[in-house]
């Protein structure tokens, strides 16, 4: 299965989904040289915003990737009010949508600790480096601890470079 983060981000942008890029792709944007196989975002879990996500992926055969029966991703009003996270397989790869981030909090708190990044296909928000480090520390899986070593080094290096200029 391909994983095309740029295309997924473009579709989310087109539908005006409110989200912050978190996880491995956020680390890559900060300069980490680790490969990540999914796109993780934190988003506002309102009905409106969830419907925008649904519209963004509707042509990509989205399925709940962690459900035993891999059910198609089809929202109902009831689902919109009960979902906390959405883990999807799509024709463009894996898209995980979280309502909160360990070590940071809910979407509003994530938004407060995000910074803007303008790419050629739109303006996005990503977790700032300190927040990403806090999130990785809170999860604490082996792969997160690996990433933490690199992210802390990047933080140190970029701080040194800022002092120089």
């Amino acid at each position: 299965m391909p994983q095309n983060d740029k295309a997924l981000l473009s579709l989310l942008k087109e539908q005006e989904v409110e989200f912050v890029i978190i996880g491995g792709v956020c680390g890559v944007l900060h300069g980490a040289s680790l490969v990540t196989l999914d796109l993780d975002i934190c988003c506002r879990f309102t009905r409106e915003n969830l419907r925008r996500i649904e519209a963004a992926v509707k042509d990509l055969h989205p399925r709940h990737r962690l459900a035993a029966n891999k059910l198609p991703f089809e929202l109902t009003d009831e689902l919109c009010s009960s979902l906390k996270n959405i883990y999807l397989n799509t024709d463009l790869g894996v898209l995980d949508c979280l309502s909160e981030v360990s070590g940071i909090g809910n979407y509003e708190q994530v938004l407060q600790r995000s910074i803007p990044h303008t790419l050629s296909y739109g303006a996005f928000r990503i977790l700032n480096l300190d927040a990403l480090i806090a999130a990785k520390s809170a999860v604490g899986r082996e792969k997160d601890l690996d990433a933490l070593r690199m992210l802390r080094a990047i933080k140190e290096r970029t701080a040194q470079q800022k002092e120089l200029f």
């Binding site: 391909p2 040289s33 196989l37 070593r149 080094a153 140190e156």
Partner: protein, 63 residues
């Protein structure tokens, strides 16, 4: 010619720890010279390669 990674003379403890852990921090140095968009493009190319190799392995195993 390929040689041993030369640590930046002003490398701090976290950078040194990452090198000691085994990360090729020359890749991170390169990434930090890129724009975020270039970093994402580079990541996509690496990801495409990994997924191609993985699929080739799966096809081979299925034979």
């Amino acid at each position: 010619m390929n040689g041993k990674y030369v640590m930046p003379p002003d490398a701090g403890p976290a950078w040194r720890a990452a090198v000691a852990y085994g990360f090729d921090m020359s890749l991170v140095e390169d990434a930090l010279r890129l724009t975020p968009e270039q970093r994402l493009d580079q990541h996509q190319r690496a990801l495409d390669t990994i997924l191609e190799v993985k699929e080739a392995g799966e096809r081979h195993a299925a034979k």
